[in-house]
Symmetry: C2
């Protein structure tokens, strides 16, 4: 399998991306990487390692897309960027997958415009797996589509289901519709029109899920438009990190706090581990004609290695083919 | 001041509502209460206390609106419910304010239909104050309006500003638009159209705020449609309570955890206090022709007492008159 890696994407580019590739090679000899980015920078970093030179090649890309650029404009104008070059490798079938830890907006726009949609999928969606109290859960979409139609959400549910079954090995995962009340008639026009579609879909639809219940992980897949999903994702991150900051401040504010804090070091370490986004790789961009994985901007080599493993699973399980086949089943509902 | 209290609303009705009124009377002799509910139940509970009988009267209401009922239907059909009777007292100017800890949906529907809108306010909004890391913040709307127009959000901002200035004594509070990115052009149709209105409004608009930054409390007032606001509120509650559950489980899972937990008892107590919703009273339903306060369903007597104090502040500061006056200033923007 050949994976294109955006060498200049992410807070620690290209160091951690390259370290992740090197580590992945040690575990899986079937892998090949094409790293995009300014040749001298990438080669200099690769020069630090001993590795089978036939396994990693470099494609020169002089430009870098920053986080502050308009995603669509950046994709259009920066043809010589590490991201666009990596995406082109997938489009031209020179690579089987792409991983980028750079701008999420540019990654999504590029995946859509360059790699292209699966026929029948109207709106691809970004679908991270997040750690929950009882089990990990997926939120789909978390930002690709700020406005959605009911049909889009039905397709999100289908893609999420296939991903969950194939990558997380959970059969017939539960699917919930993110809503402001549990009753069928609650919500806005979108949720009210989506509910009956999901009910008819033949999938394991468990009804509306109020955001307060999402962090428990009781429901596997949470379906919503990208605005709401992004709110869910960012409130989850923001609330957790704020709470940890408050706990830290309070602990450091008194002697008994400091002593207690010492005893609880391993406890907090466990919790941090539990909430580690790295474990699940990146967020899959589902619905495009290629394996497109968005790694977290702060990804280290372990996160990259897990994103690489995710790409391997994605391919070995023929997820794209499955999506195409299962789309037919929901065609008459749409 | 006369406050109508829905005696049968909330998880601990009528016990805590009545206890709150009794306690409030001890501190403020200018208060009068009318408690609605089944006469014998309310009187029996009142019989437990020694208080000035001229200060509390009871209005008989045989019905109770439950949490599972359709709000609009319940308001229409249950004319003899404790909520509808209390709202009617405000409508008929027999009471200056109403507090209910019952069904939020029924409370909002009833306030809207019975008490009525302020002329010029298209959509009243529910606006709780929440504890943040650095300061409390308001989210408006958290559920009254699942679909909104830009003009509604502009009015939310105005009402939030007046409330914040008058009740929390923060002059020229900062106003943010909840959005999935900080750039002006980000978001959905609603946020894109609302941004320029807020920019022109003359209020202290600080731009888009990503949900991840909401819990810091850096921005005073967060404006959004009721679907997004409800998601923010419920993700905040859900994430925090889940995290505390996880911490508790981890602490109890090892000896060092248990020891550390003992040392941190006061730390966690402080944090719990910091996150105490009771402190800010209830959520004001802003934009109606009366003081309508929704207390938390789990309100105890302290929460009720704070909601009562909130009603007093609301009235003493002429918030409804202020809203009417300031509406004129934003008229040409709308």
């Amino acid at each position: 399998m050949i994976i294109a890696v955006d060498g200049m994407g992410g807070d620690f580019a290209p160091v951690e991306a390259i370290a992740g590739c090197i580590d992945a090679l040690k575990e899986n000899n079937d892998l090949n990487f094409i790293i995009t980015g300014p040749e001298e920078i990438i080669n200099k970093e690769l020069g630090k390692y001993n590795y089978d030179k036939s396994k990693i090649s470099v494609v020169d890309a002089k430009e870098v897309i920053s986080l502050n650029e308009s995603p669509v404009m950046a994709i259009r104008k920066k043809k010589d960027s590490s991201l666009v070059k990596a995406l082109n490798l997938v489009k031209e079938k020179k690579a089987d997958a792409i991983i980028s830890a750079g701008s999420t907006g540019a990654f999504m726009a590029g995946s859509l415009f360059i790699v292209g949609r699966i026929k029948g999928i109207d709106r691809p969606a970004l679908a991270p797996i997040m750690p929950g109290r009882n089990a990990p859960f997926m939120v789909i979409d978390v930002g690709a589509n700020a406005e959605c139609k009911p049909k889009n959400l039905l397709q999100f549910a289908l893609m999420g289901k296939i991903y969950f079954e194939k990558i997380l090995n959970i059969n017939n995962p539960s699917i919930g519709l993110v809503n402001i009340g549990v009753e069928e008639e609650k919500g806005n026009e979108l949720t009210k029109s989506t509910y009956p579609l999901l009910k008819e879909s033949g999938m394991n639809f468990v009804g509306n899920v109020e955001p307060r219940d999402i962090p428990t992980g009781k429901v596997n897949i949470l379906v919503c438009d990208g605005f709401v999903g992004n709110t869910v994702l960012k409130m989850y991150e923001g609330t957790a990190s704020n709470l940890f900051e408050i706990i830290k401040t309070e602990i450091m504010g008194s002697l008994s706090g400091k002593i207690g804090g010492l005893f609880l070091k391993s406890v907090f370490k466990n919790i941090k581990k539990k909430f580690n986004y790295k474990e699940y790789g990146g967020a899959a961009f589902l619905g495009v004609e290629g394996i497109c994985v968005k790694a977290h901007g702060a990804s280290d080599k372990i996160a990259f290695k897990n994103a690489i493993r995710q790409c391997v699973n994605f391919r070995n399980n023929n997820i794209i083919e499955d999506i195409k086949e299962e789309l037919i089943k929901i065609n008459d509902i749409q």
